[in-house]
């Protein structure tokens, strides 16, 4: 195992950075032999500009490649490829939602014809999630457009909602697309997932190549099942050391973005390895990969392991084949972090790379706290918040809004016992702490949305949020100030009314 470089608690020194390093991959690297080999898939014909090659040679890759390069090589039927090459890849899953779906469908119909059929009705996943619980007529109409299209095309995975007054009356309805994709088994190692949403990179947690695309590209994929992608070089992040009990994956990714800046990984893949990453749950790995876009990253990946395979058990019947970076793979650069030395951090307004230690911001008075979104609204995020409330035994000092990402998360919030609470659920603990009642699952106020969106910032307030973006206006008001934080830090801040280091309650 590569030795991690120890560093002082000061954030900027807790890592090391080497340019153009071609060191062996760390212990994370594993043979994917435990998985069954996928039966030879039917590949589309007519890849331009490249000589065809025998499918039988697909499996034996001779030049050393990173995980991301390998996934794209396989999806483009290439033995090897290099960063910077443009390749046509076969898409395994295309996801769209109510904000970009109608436009994507519009382009698909214009380009392929009114009667055209999607390339594969089982590979298109359509998830209404952004603007659901609103009286905005156009927003409601957009979900109708999705429904009509799914009926017409007989789309297999459409997570519809019809009764807006009670989400529980809609058994098919899931909620936030990225969390739903994982929970419904659409995120599989070694595959290619494209989605009309920048946080599609979330699924990299499964060792999948996953990235966001626009409506026009998505319209193309709908008709052909193919996308022209440029192979990104990979930056490797080696996270070693025991995770302190007051840190969450959100702290790690905010740390990293603060280090490399909001454009530090533009056009690049971010691979997360090391003993800390191996110890993370799937939901925590998702938090890590979810925010690679905030560093400009094209995709993020975590090598699949037993944790991954366990999570996927019973969720998918599709055979998948994980791939791993070769020992001699070339990385664009390498960053090493000693996680045991890190402290809880926040991203101050108005940029996700505006990093500061939570304790440095203890004089920042906050008006509200928001726990939700694909980044910070998963089951474990609510369990983490509940843990802080439980440890303090106090009541929140500012309005605290809770928006479970999906229907499944909502159920967990109301049913799972919080460890150490004597059997209480998160919802009971939140109620005792004086939080708002957990809302219906959706993107909620993470991106502002229509004016009547629950918890939207309609005034210029200061909010500590477990979401992923703090650009001006992101949660509603243009002059609003958003501090991005982990669920621990968010809950601690709710209890004091100031940005607060969770160690004040957890230690």
């Amino acid at each position: 195992m590569a030795s991690s470089i120890s560093a002082a608690a000061k954030a900027s020194t807790a890592f090391a950075h080497k340019k153009e390093l071609a060191a062996p991959a760390p212990a994370q690297h594993r043979a994917g032999s435990s998985r069954r080999t996928k039966p030879c898939r039917v590949r589309a014909v007519a890849s331009p500009a490249r000589a065809p090659r025998a499918p039988s040679s697909t499996g034996s890759v001779k030049s050393a490649m990173t995980m991301t390069e390998k996934i794209l090589a396989r999806a483009s039927e290439r033995a090897a490829l290099e960063p910077g090459e443009n390749v046509w890849v076969d898409v395994d899953v295309l996801m769209t939602h109510d904000v970009c779906g109608p436009g994507t469908i519009g382009i698909f119909k214009k380009e392929f014809g009114e009667d055209a059929k999607v390339w594969d009705r089982e590979k298109v996943v359509i998830i209404p999630d952004h603007y659901i619980f609103t009286t905005d007529e156009r927003a409601n109409r957009n979900v109708d457009i999705l429904r009509d299209f799914c009926l017409e095309q007989n789309i297999k995975y459409f997570y519809d909602i019809k009764d807006l007054s009670n989400f529980k009356a809609n058994p098919d309805y899931k909620g936030v697309c990225h969390v739903a994709l994982a929970q419904e088994g659409h995120c599989r190692p070694g595959e290619v997932l494209l989605g009309t949403d920048s946080h599609t990179c979330n699924a990299g947690a499964f060792g999948q190549f996953a990235t966001g695309i626009g409506n026009t590209d998505a319209g193309f994929v709908l008709g052909t099942g193919k996308a022209l992608l440029k192979v990104p070089p990979t930056i490797r992040f080696v996270l070693d050391g025991e995770m302190p009990p007051y840190l969450l994956a959100k702290d790690l990714i905010l740390q990293i973005i603060g280090e490399i800046s909001v454009s530090g990984a533009t056009y690049k893949s971010m691979e997360f390895v090391g003993s800390t990453v191996e110890s993370l749950t799937m939901e925590e790995r998702m938090t890590l990969c979810n925010m690679v876009i905030e560093a400009g990253g094209k995709n993020g990946v975590v090598p699949a392991d037993e944790t991954t395979f366990k999570y996927l058990e019973g969720k998918t019947s599709v055979d998948y084949e994980p791939v791993y970076s070769d020992a001699q793979a070339r990385f664009f650069s390498d960053y090493r972090f000693d996680v045991s030395k890190l402290e809880p951090v926040v991203a101050k307004p108005h940029s996700p790379d505006n990093r500061a230690l939570a304790r440095e911001c203890k004089d920042v008075k906050v008006d509200r706290v928001y726990i939700g979104s694909c980044t910070g609204g998963k089951t474990e995020d609510f369990l983490a918040a509940a843990k802080v409330f439980l440890a303090s035994g106090k009541k929140v000092k500012v309005p605290t809004f809770l928006v479970p990402a999906t229907q499944k998360v909502w159920m967990d919030v109301y049913s799972l016992p919080v460890p150490g609470s004597g059997g209480k659920t998160c919802s009971q603990i939140f109620e005792e702490a004086g939080c708002d009642t957990p809302a219906s699952p959706s993107c909620g106020a993470c991106l502002g949305g229509p004016r009547d969106t629950y918890a939207r910032m309609n005034e210029p307030m200061v909010c500590v949020s477990t979401t992923n973006r703090n650009f001006p206006g992101r949660m509603g008001h243009k002059e609003g100030q958003i501090y991005l934080a982990s669920p621990y830090t968010a809950a601690a801040s709710a209890l004091t009314g100031y940005v607060t280091d969770p160690r004040d309650f957890l230690m």
Binding site: C100, E111, D217, K226, S263, R469
Partner: protein, 250 residues
């Protein structure tokens, strides 16, 4: 609406052009009329796009007239797509003509008013007086919403000149043909330009000129997007290379 030229015509024209990328990028816009006729119609009809005449001439025949001239609108570093088109307007579907125009009227509505007292689109207007957007680093970061380049294009902007782009915004600009995402070779231009300065973007000479300040800046060639742009966008490129059938069923 006039029929779009075939992919072959486009590629031939591109090969004949002295400077390939910008020229063919230009022709691409015409090509896209096939599925974006409404947008082009409204843009051409707009009375206050200074480059409209040159643009129209360029797209029809002469590649060398690929020049945008007019006033510029200046923004800073890390302008994210929420500021270009705030989420509350995302219920508008870009492929619907009337909603496309509405998107244009909201372009840059998310910029904080204190830092940007001059709106990109004047209140009550549908299009902008600014033909060129000048930005800093990492332009178009954040959300993947294609509504962002669409809003700029729908408002009548022709080009963005910035120090660098977030990946998805750049790609969406190319795939839709709404605006030219042009990169400066050096940093700092946005600090030397003021909203309202009269500028020229000369694609064939890869130069950006600010007439008000008298300064000139070099532009990078369009690069990897070239082959796709040369073909006329992602659909035309795919048809040209045989990836999809050469004529849509439509």
């Amino acid at each position: 609406m006039a029929a779009a030229p075939s992919a072959t015509a486009v590629s031939t024209a591109a090969l004949l052009a002295p400077i390939r990328a910008p020229t063919s990028a230009f022709l691409r816009r015409t090509q896209l009329t096939r599925h974006r006729d409404h947008s082009l119609k409204c843009r051409r009809a707009g009375p206050i796009v200074p480059a409209a005449a040159a643009a129209a001439a360029g797209s029809s025949s002469s590649p060398s007239s690929a020049v945008f001239h007019g006033e510029c609108f200046v923004v800073g570093d890390n302008i994210d797509t929420d500021q270009i088109i705030p989420a509350e307007h995302l219920t508008l579907v870009p492929s619907k003509p009337d909603e496309y125009r509405k998107l244009g009227s909201f372009a840059f509505a998310g910029l904080p008013s204190a830092a940007y007292p001059t709106p990109f689109v004047a209140p009550g207007e549908e299009s902008t007086r600014y033909a060129v957007v000048v930005g800093g680093a990492n332009f178009g970061c954040g959300s993947s919403r294609e509504h962002a380049p669409v809003a700029l294009g729908a408002a009548g902007a022709r080009a963005v000149v910035a120090e660098g782009y977030a990946r998805i915004f750049f790609r969406n600009s190319v795939a839709t043909g709404e605006v030219y995402p042009l990169e400066l070779t050096d940093t700092g231009a946005w600090k030397e330009c003021k909203t309202g300065d009269v500028v020229t973007v000369d694609l064939s000479n890869s130069v950006f000129i600010n007439h008000t300040s008298g300064k000139e800046y070099k532009l990078k060639p369009i690069g990897d997007a070239g082959p796709v742009i040369e073909a006329g966008g992602i659909f035309a490129y795919a048809r040209k290379t045989g990836m999809i059938a050469s004529k849509a069923a439509a």
